[in-house]
Symmetry: C2
């Protein structure tokens, strides 16, 4: 399909989508919470009511995927059934029930000259989402962005194009029918790469890009974009086991952080063990992890105590396995642990397991990551677990949003200043 | 000088500067407010004590500038005398006296599972500043970034290279002598463009780029950078005079916004007048502005009442004159004013002059700019006027910082989570 489209056609279509989104954003920005919530519920009903249509479009993607030889895991991620469609609709209803993040007064002050300065939350405007595979992102992202008063331009992966188009069609029609302006939810109808390139330079219309997918996708987005991007490349999370700690609890936390769901970004990839306890602790934790099916790759000091572990090479410290593999290093103490994490980590989530408050404080202050734990599993880095209600993603950037991003992170602020004729 | 340097030499030098800055940032991040303040005062003294050296280096730049045929205005901006050097030193002392923005608990909550989640401000890390002409940026930016716990990589313009090197030398030596780690303040020693290009892709070391200068410089930075950028391209500020307002005050505010300092970004470039009062108000405001030496460029309706005004063309609405020129349009009402501003404006600062609260509310909610005023001059958009103490710049972006950026905007946050063995 995309072979026949010229670059001009793509550019013109995207320009007009961008302009439409920008104009819609001004209208959406001042809509009441109840109007937005009503629309979210209508959108949820629409997705559920159109279940048969969505599934038939999804089937097209699945057939193409099979022909292309996608793995069973990939096909499963792509697949939409009644249950998953219901879950997407319920997700929209959950978003409707969350607090409106727009119009909150963050600070208010009166200057000596009498000017009253209010700093108030406001929608960002137009948000571009670039994502891969799972069609549920279409629904989740559209719902969250809209709730925060933002229009979305969605660009999903080619493997889910029919599913995404069907979902976006339901959502935008429902939004329109509930009184939202045209252009609040738009999906780029081609998986053509030229369309992404064009999208990423439309800084005139788009205020923020959020890429969701593998590191390759995210790097390509960052390199091309003239629009601010919020992202996370990788989740290389660490646990450091200190010289004094509750070893039984430590083993539970390590097992949970590694094994409960090894394929996600907040699972640990590297374990650091204080050498003072290594002789005792290393064999114990190794036994438990091996029991759970984890492959261990250790530095030479760790392998003294766990000779069966494979040797870790330099690359292992940089690796996001997303699998039942764990790199393990015996370190001299909290300082070496911090230095290791700041050098090899991805700034996502790290934990210290200790009963020494001084070491905990040092670790938490000096580790340069979005989330730093004392005596808890790294698996808690999640919008839901933080009480945000829903998350659009996790940021390992330090600008605007760091860590889990919920509705407040989908807003900006503006200053409203009330005067009585003041001049400078 | 720069012709002889190879790309490899530039790249290697910048890599090692970046790495040094990153390592220094971890140390600086946990230094106490009093240690940082002491260093700022030592830096101030050093700049003052080295006044003769700085002036002799500045003289080199002035001589080169003269040969190159820089304008008198440019040479004046470049020039450093005793008074200006004293002012820079006093600026550092002022920054020392401001509140430390690091380590503030923004929110704190206890989750149902007992996890205590604190959201705490933290330094951003390494900040790159790309700027033109005025050497005082070297000192101001270094001081503000350092106070917020950040290292800086400075890259000034070629016309001020000797002055900047002299200043950076004083600052970094003083920082080092007061116990700060090496690498807190570094200036790229070449004005070579290849050095900027390299700098803008060092996302491994640099966390944020702040460009300060003309629109051309800023666009080039945004296009090349893989590091988040906070910027403002232009300040096309507007005043809208509503159908009912205190006309005498309105004229004072308009004169102040246009004429008090026409060359700055918070001066107005366009005046919008409600057509209900245009017949009475347009000639009055025109007379005052012409008296102040302002050239008026009006739409046809404005020129009915002020025939001497030049006709405005489409380009005028996009223009940042930075001069005693003002575009003027008679509009049908608050809706047209808002639409005009959202279309042609730069998202900086706008004001409505009105006695109708409903129109003020509509204007303030619907205008998509960093700062929106009711009945006050746009000239108040300034860190000092906002009570920030000092500003590093003004952002027309919507991410992370919008409007004047002070010390708090030079920080990020991190989540510190305290557990007792919680697993998921």
């Amino acid at each position: 399909m995309s072979e026949r489209i010229t670059k001009d056609e793509i550019d013109n279509t995207l320009e007009s989508m961008g302009e439409k989104a920008k104009l819609a954003a001004y209208v959406l920005a001042v809509m009441s919470a109840s109007d937005k919530n009503r629309a979210l519920n209508v959108m949820a009903d629409s997705v559920e009511n159109e279940c048969a249509f969505i599934m038939s479009e999804n089937l097209k993607d699945l057939k193409v995927g099979e022909k292309k030889g996608l793995s069973a895991a990939m096909l499963d991620r792509l697949k939409l059934d009644k249950e998953r469609i219901k879950a997407m609709a319920d997700g929209l209803r959950d978003v409707a029930s969350l607090e409106d993040p727009v119009g909150k007064i963050l600070t208010s002050s009166i200057r000596p000259n009498g000017l009253k300065i209010d700093k108030v939350t406001a929608p960002i405007g137009v948000i571009g989402i670039v994502y891969e595979s799972r069609p549920n992102v279409t629904v989740d992202a559209a719902g969250l962005c809209m709730k925060a008063g933002n229009c979305v331009l969605l660009r999903g992966g080619s493997e889910a194009i029919h599913s995404n188009l069907a979902l976006a069609h339901c959502l935008s029609r429902a939004a329109l029918s509930s009184g939202l302006p045209e252009g609040v939810i738009q999906l780029i109808p081609w998986s053509d790469r030229r369309a992404v390139s064009k999208m990423l330079t439309m800084d005139r219309y788009i205020d923020l890009i959020i890429p969701r997918g593998g590191e390759g996708l995210i790097r390509a987005v960052v390199e091309q974009s003239t629009i601010p991007v919020i992202k996370h490349y990788k989740g290389i999370c660490h646990i450091y086991v200190d010289s004094e700690c509750d070893q039984k609890r430590a083993i539970e936390i390590i097992e949970n952080s590694k094994c409960q769901r090894p394929g996600v970004c907040n699972a640990i990839e590297t374990l650091l063990i204080n050498h003072d306890i290594a002789a005792e602790f290393a064999p114990k934790v190794a036994a438990r992890l091996i029991e759970c099916g984890v492959e261990l790759r250790g530095n030479s000091e760790f392998r003294k105590f766990v000779p069966d572990a494979k040797p870790a090479i330099e690359e292992d410290w940089y690796e996001e396995y997303l699998d039942l593999i764990l790199a393990v290093k015996v370190v001299s103490g909290v300082d070496e642990a911090i230095a290791h994490i700041n050098r090899y980590g991805s700034g996502h989530s790290e934990a210290i397991l200790t009963t020494l408050p001084k070491n905990a404080e040092k670790f938490m202050n000096e580790v340069d990551s979005a989330v730093v734990y004392m005596n808890a599993s790294t698996r808690f880095t999640d919008g839901g677990e933080f009480g945000m209600g829903a998350e659009i993603g996790i940021s390992t950037d330090k600008l605007h949003a760091r860590g889990p991003m919920g509705l407040p992170e989908l807003t900006t602020y503006k200053y409203l200043i009330y005067g009585e004729g003041q001049i400078r």
